[in-house]
């Protein structure tokens, strides 16, 4: 069982939850309040949803040896545009208006993703720099849209995206799971997954096998933009309002962390969407744990460093090997001899 790719990420998540269980048994209390589920675990799912989304998009980008630093800014832009449109409506609660707002925002995000894809696949700029451009400028664009203020909205249908519940369950996690399910189906039932892994695993071999790597690359950035856009809507809907200054700040780092914990390598190739979901949930669990256990905010980063380190260490085969070898003494031939010979 330890051979399964998700064994270690899942164990890490469970271990963290175990810590919570011991330190604060009420962490696991889930009740129904006001017609919806209520409890820390539900919070983790609901708040983790945007990270899951951004992580899924990022995973595909990373699979092609890319990286997308601009997702945070795209998150901000998406929320800003949707809220701007909603705030100008006479009746914010109208479903039609909300749909238009959402559609506009996602449309723009697709375009932004296409821009990134253009820079990477057509102009051939290194992804980290190509997306850095939008990371910097995009934040400005979001602020331009909101005029630097927080646009508060009241739209009921829109708020549901972030803090609504459907059949007791948070809408946001349902959306995230839907996107996860659809994209998993898409990459594994079509040949997309294989082709992406080939593009990222060995680009030249991919090219000589007739892959349209340019197009595929473009596609993943567009998809990344879309995921970030949905996440942006959720984040805006949660508060509810568009905070162009802070929405999605540093989410790219968390997303990359999530996919790494999930077992995807930043050097491209093999990827695991399921792993990313687990990774994102792990990160959100950690955050919620810090708040719940009352860890002082000056120590938060230290705790985060420690947990991430531990998670990565247990996942590292090299580390496990070393630990195992230490416990089991090495056979008679030790490498000290080798040095003697060379002398």
């Amino acid at each position: 069982m330890t051979k399964h790719r998700l064994f270690w990420p899942v164990s890490a998540l469970l271990a963290l939850l175990l810590v919570d269980l011991i330190a604060k048994p009420s962490f696991f209390k889930v009740e129904v309040r006001d017609g919806h589920l209520y409890g820390s675990l539900i919070d983790i799912l609901r708040l983790g949803a945007p990270l899951i989304l951004v992580g899924i998009g990022m995973t595909l980008v990373v699979a092609t040896r890319g990286i997308d630093l601009s997702v945070g800014s795209v998150v901000a832009i998406s929320g800003a545009l949707a809220c701007l449109h909603l705030s100008g409506l006479p009746d914010q609660d109208a479903v039609g208006g909300t749909v238009v707002a959402v559609g506009m925002a996602l449309g723009l995000c697709l375009a932004l993703g296409a821009w990134n894809g253009f820079l990477v696949s057509v102009l051939g700029i290194q992804p980290i720099i190509a997306t850095l451009i939008l990371m910097v400028a995009g934040r400005g664009i979001a602020q331009l849209i909101t005029d630097g203020q927080i646009i508060t909205i009241t739209s009921g249908p829109f708020r549901a995206l972030g803090s609504g519940y459907l059949f007791l369950v948070p809408v946001s996690i349902l959306i995230a799971l839907a996107v996860f399910g659809l994209s998993s189906l898409l990459v594994r039932k079509s040949a997309l997954g294989l082709l992406l892994e080939a593009v990222g695993g060995n680009p030249e071999a991919g090219r000589l096998s007739g892959l349209r790597s340019g197009r595929l690359t473009w596609l993943v950035y567009v998809f990344g933009g879309l995921c970030a856009g949905i996440a942006g809507l959720m984040i805006a809907a949660n508060t509810p309002g568009a905070d162009a200054n802070h929405a999605g700040l540093w989410i790219e780092l968390d997303a990359i962390l999530a996919l790494t914990i999930g077992g995807t390598k930043l050097t491209g190739g093999r990827f695991s969407l399921g792993g990313t979901v687990i990774g994102a949930l792990l990160i959100q669990t950690l955050t919620t744990t810090v708040y719940t256990l009352g860890i002082p905010d000056t120590a938060t980063l230290l705790v985060k460093a420690l947990v991430v380190l531990l998670v990565c260490l247990v996942q590292s085969p090299a580390f496990r090997d070393r630990v195992r070898r230490r416990r089991r003494p090495v056979p008679a031939t030790e490498s000290a001899r080798a040095v003697e010979v060379s002398a």
Partner: protein, 325 residues
């Protein structure tokens, strides 16, 4: 052959093209600034670029080594901040002598870098993640040491901070600039004239091959992170000389600036190819963008960001276009 003939006969090597393109763009940007804004044309504007970015330059040099091996170091900003906080704490609260503080700060940077390098090499943790842990850890240390940003009034530090080295034409540079340029020179020497430097390129070219060729890959990989940690700590000291304060929230996002500078300078992120001189140019590009915006003085906060992005885009695309032919 006359000098002119030699110049006109010069055909730049393919691999030097991105750097030359960047240099041309920098000159172009400077000429543009001089034509648009009063006082931009003075030499001091150029020297200010070095004065203001000497610390970033040192950090970016360390980053160049790491990126050349195909790695990445996200911890640099936090280590810079940690150095400033440590300096302030040790000089102020603890009352250590300046020399001891300098040594201690550099040692801490070296140690942190070595630790991350060891994680990366021996436990095969991806550089991005190992150094992200370093980022959290160093910033966390900053905040546990102090949430305030105390000033530094140590005599030695103040002298270094405020000494101006006069240059012809009523200009001046700071001591930090000299330190930074010395670091660049040493780095260039290391990379091109020592076994260590060549092994850095080798590891970036193909780590597996380097191992099979019997190169000292472990030592090199750990060393580049140690070196980057050291450079970050030194960059932190230069920042202390620059500001005379220890701020736990300083240098946030520096890692991206440093990476951007290295990559704009023509170094390939996957490793194995690039030059420190390119990194110098990359830092100057970032500085030039900021200077242009400062002199303009009409941009709102958001337009500032958009224009920075736009200029970055223009630089990179022009660089590619020039280098392609």
């Amino acid at each position: 052959m006359t000098a002119l003939a030699r110049v006109t006969a010069y055909r730049p090597q393919q691999r030097h093209l991105p750097m030359l393109a960047t240099l041309a763009l920098l000159v172009g940007a400077y000429a543009y600034g001089a034509s648009q804004y009063t006082a931009f044309g003075s030499g001091q504007v150029v020297f200010n670029l070095f004065i203001n970015y000497s610390w970033l330059l040192v950090v970016a040099v360390g980053m160049t080594f790491v990126i050349l091996t195909g790695g990445i170091d996200l911890s640099v900003g936090s280590v810079v901040a940690l150095s400033t906080v440590l300096s302030a704490e040790l000089l102020g609260e603890q009352g250590w002598p300046a020399a001891a503080v300098v040594v201690a700060v550099l040692a801490v940077g070296l140690l942190l870098g070595t630790g991350m390098g060891a994680l990366i090499h021996y436990f095969e943790i991806q550089p991005f993640i190992a150094t992200l842990v370093g980022l959290f850890f160093a910033r966390g240390l900053c905040l546990t040491i102090s949430t305030e940003a105390p000033s530094i009034d140590d005599g030695f530090f103040t002298v270094i901070a405020q000494t101006q080295i006069p240059l012809p034409g009523d200009s001046h540079v700071s001591i930090s600039v000299l330190i930074a340029l010395a670091v660049v020179a040493v780095a260039g020497y290391l990379l091109h004239h020592t076994r260590f430097g060549r092994t850095v390129y080798a590891v970036g070219g193909s780590e597996q091959s380097a191992v099979l060729m019997g190169l000292k890959v472990a030592r090199t990989k750990v060393s580049v992170y140690a070196l980057s940690g050291f450079c970050s700590a030194l960059g932190g000291l230069l920042l202390v000389f620059y500001k005379l304060s220890g701020d736990p929230l300083s240098a946030i996002g520096t890692e991206l600036d440093a990476i951007a500078a290295v990559v704009i300078g023509g170094t390939i992120l996957s490793g194995g190819s690039g030059y420190v001189l390119g990194t110098v140019l990359g830092v100057l590009v970032l500085g030039m963008i900021q200077t242009l915006i400062d002199f303009d003085g009409t941009l709102s906060s958001w337009w500032t960001k958009i224009v920075i992005g736009g200029l970055l885009f223009a630089f990179i695309v022009l660089q590619r276009l020039i280098a392609r032919r």
